[in-house]
Amino acid sequence: MPVLFEAPPTKKQSSKKGKPPVKIVSTVKLNTTPLTAYLMHPNDIRFETQDPDEEVILFMRQHIIVLIPKLIIGIIVFFAPLILFPILIRFLQSPVEIPGGYVIVGTVFWYLATFGFFLSMFMQWYFNIFIVTNHRIIDIDFLFFLYKKFGEAKIEKIQDISFRTGGITATVFNYGDVIIQTAGELPNLIFEKVPRPSEVVHILSDLTEDHKETGDV
C-alpha cells in the first residue's frame, strides 16, 4: 500500500539550527588509549567519586597538540650530548681531562633526566581530565607533583555554556576553551584546550535541557 502521509519528525528528532542532534544515549562503548583526548561513552573509565548509577558520557583531555612544544624541547635535549657537547669541549679546551667514569655516568643521567622530563610532562597532560556524566561535570587538574585540584558542578547548577577558540593551531586542529558558568557561589569551570569545543557545548546544552525536562537523563 502506498504511503499517503508520513509524519514529520518530532521536536526531539529534528535538528537544532541545522545541526544534527547529539546522540547522548549510545550503546557503543569504546576503550581509551594513553593518547585519547576525546571519547564519548568510554568503556574503561571510572573515577574516584563516581556513583553506582552515574554514567560517563564524555571524557576529555587537552588536545594532544599541546604536547608538541614539549616534545620539540625533549628532542633538542635528547640530541644535545651528540651535537652540542663535542663542540663545547673542543672550544673550551679545558686543561683538566674529564675521567671516563664521569662521561659515562653523565651521559646515562642526561638521558634518564630527559626521560623523566618526558614522563612528568606526559603525566601532567594525562591526568588533567574533564568528565561529563549524566549527573555532573568534573574537572580534575594535575598542576604539578603532589598538587591536584578537583572541581565539579551538578548539571542542574549549570547556567551558561560558551566556548572560545583563537589562534592558528586552535583553528587548524579544532580545539578551544569551554567555559561553564554555574549558579550561586560555585566557581566557574573551564575546560581548557579541549578538542571539538562546539560539540562539547552542544552535548552540555542537550544534557542541561534534558535535565530540566525530565529531572535526569
Binding site: 594513553p34 571510572r46 573515577f47 634518564l112 591536584k148
Partner: protein, 73 residues
C-alpha cells in the same frame, strides 16, 4: 699537600656532589611513582598500566645510575 692530593680531594668532592644530586633525583623519581599511584585512584583506566610500568622503570634506572656512580666515579 701535594698537587696529586688536591686533585684527588677535588674529584672526591665532585663524586660527593654527583651522588647527592643523583640521590635527589631518586627522590624525584619516587615522587613520580607515588603521584602516579595516587592519580590512578582518582582515575581508573586500563591505559594507566603503561604509565605505572614507565614510572617504575624510571625509578629503577635512577637507582642503578646512583650505584653506577658510587662504583665507577
Amino acid at each position: 699537600m701535594t698537587p696529586d692530593n688536591v686533585g684527588y680531594l677535588a674529584w672526591m668532592g665532585m663524586k660527593l656532589m654527583a651522588l647527592v644530586g643523583l640521590g635527589i633525583y631518586i627522590v624525584f623519581a619516587f615522587v613520580i611513582v607515588r603521584q602516579e599511584q595516587l592519580m590512578s585512584k582518582v582515575l581508573e583506566a586500563q591505559s594507566e598500566k603503561i604509565l605505572s610500568v614507565l614510572s617504575w622503570i624510571h625509578l629503577g634506572v635512577s637507582v642503578v645510575v646512583f650505584f653506577l656512580a658510587l662504583l665507577i666515579l
